[in-house]
Symmetry: C2
Amino acid sequence: MSEPTRPPINAVTTPAGYRAGGVACGIKASGQPDLALLVSDRPAAAAAVFTRSQSKAEPLLVDQEQLRDPHIQAVIVNSGNANCATGAQGLADARTMLGLAAERAGCAVDLAFVSSTGIIGHFLPMDRVREGAAEVTLSAEGGGDFARAILTTDGFMKEALATFEAGGATYTLGGCAKGAGMIHPNLDGANMDGPHMGAPAGERHATMLAYLTTDADIEPGLLQERLQYAVDRSFNMISVDGDTSTSDTVLILANGAAGGTPLTAADRDGVAAFDAALRSVCESLAIDIARGGEGATKLLAITVQGAADRDAAVAVARTVSTSVLLKAALSKGDPNWGRVVMAAGNAGVPFDRAMLRVWLGDRLLYADGGSTGIAPADAAQAVAGDTVRIRIDLGQGDAEATAWGCDLTEEYVRFNADYVT
Amino acid sequence: MSEPTRPPINAVTTPAGYRAGGVACGIKASGQPDLALLVSDRPAAAAAVFTRSQSKAEPLLVDQEQLRDPHIQAVIVNSGNANCATGAQGLADARTMLGLAAERAGCAVDLAFVSSTGIIGHFLPMDRVREGAAEVTLSAEGGGDFARAILTTDGFMKEALATFEAGGATYTLGGCAKGAGMIHPNLDGANMDGPHMGAPAGERHATMLAYLTTDADIEPGLLQERLQYAVDRSFNMISVDGDTSTSDTVLILANGAAGGTPLTAADRDGVAAFDAALRSVCESLAIDIARGGEGATKLLAITVQGAADRDAAVAVARTVSTSVLLKAALSKGDPNWGRVVMAAGNAGVPFDRAMLRVWLGDRLLYADGGSTGIAPADAAQAVAGDTVRIRIDLGQGDAEATAWGCDLTEEYVRFNADYVT
């Protein structure tokens, strides 16, 4: 993986009332930044979704307790060590990190949130974490440093911004994320009382983490509902390798620092505007994660339309996005639409293949049960770029969904095989 | 893929009353054998299971019609061309092949069965198929030639034999199979009226095919029931790449040539003896397919025990067997049990990770929610061989299931990426 190259846009500190920063405190042997802090100048309404995995990491278990009162003012994240399969010591270390974050924010520990990503099965070097937490410079220009310090095997920084209007006021929404490998999110906010059972060990742990901030004042229940809706159409629709991580987390904070009236479900236009901003930021970050998958050279965007319902469209799009044979074919630019039809047939969704149509880019390659006869050289043009668009029409109804993935290269296998526990 | 190296054992012609053979008729540019015939000296009770894919190939659609009377006497198989996405012409060619088989067997066309595997989207060279069908030498020693001629990218021949006793008589059961890639069978006999919609094109098509013969006399309904039971515990538990093919087919013939009384469900001991023989042959062939996966260097055998029910055990075992991250780690001998626990957590099966235990070989590496502290060098011994045994105990009940897979290597990606439509 190359070093992150994108210029920072300080997304999470662009909304009013947020400060952030990041430092290298020595958790990573590489000396790269590995500790990040994000604070709000006041308690913020908070909502989060966590992996549905049965194997949740210790920090997620602590966060699920923290969110029983859905307000957060301080977020601390370390990379380089996932604090996973660390049992009672790991839970204690996660709670110590909550205290360090609250101390820097000058808030109660109840208002803190913690994430860790990296190697599993090792205790955190808490002395370094303490030093780092004290050293982080918090500023309204620190969003880029925060976004940089949460990365592990990522090839580039992932940030996004949007604005929206509600109740006559304009608000800002910012976000950043990290991804790379072990990416097949299955995020849910309904499992706040999930099993508290530690997490797997021996794993380099390239989870997905995302942090979203807005200066609007949004009621927590509404925030949770809209976050799940947006996540189901963004992070929950990406896949790098089909392996869902044990630490996947998305957190959103709404601190109301821009003033204005609180956004409630009654303000339909305001909610719609917020939805659009949230969806655009989540989609941008999710697509960056798919494009930045380990070893990836191409982004795959798979849109399934003409489905009987959205669940059917999602099932077909997700199944095609994880086909190892299709991902391998596309890595060398083979316009192998046969593997698209093969994969579509395995989603457990009945369809009439006489009605099925498959496009690569703008070329219709499959219709009426067979090839449309487009020359391979012409079809190859449709998959030659660094983004491959696949469109599948099931010919059944009006529902559609889009999934994003990436190609499968020898580099992915080398990268994940050569890593030794 | 290397050339097949195992010596033939003529499995499908070892039971009484069967003759078979294979020739190179020129379908494969390589000049390797590509046309196979199997005939019984009398009509045989027949049962078959086909892929659950929505994208069934033309020959399967013809066979589903043939089996409305479940008796077969002649089987013709070509490799090198899957006769897929060939529409009306493909259906006509498949029926012509039924006629060629019936002619060689001296039976009615209603008693013939046809399979094709290889390139998709090309019409069969029927002149060569006709010549080949006429040239094949049928003999009781031709089982190996049949098994050889059905192969595509397989590295070796796959044959197996067993005997069983029922009603005081001894019977023989033989089988052969081909596999290699696009292997994640999902076979079912309950879809005889599946959609007739052609099949995907543009695909090198390394499907799984298996043919079983016995000289016992078994009622077709019983034969279908016991075949599905055995397939659910063998072929339906293997995966090479998680991609289910459009042509997967398993056929069994019971011709009664060894005499004795017909086997019925009332003869519980006889059925149990037949089950044991059928299971052993299907398991042997299925494991050979997993071990012989494209690019594979290791066979993975994943046993899940302590499950609440068999469906839960199957879900966890299948999910672990398809984890790209785990398969990549094992290709270089990394005893990465963390990826086993990660994958097990994604099967949609709830479990208490405090009760979960994971073994690699005979080493217990995960228990009580964390590492058992076995040294990596010691753990590495457990995955050093060409067969890696993984055992997972969910600590919930008495149900268990075993899935088989293979490691993921750069060669698999190279092989499937460099293939061009």
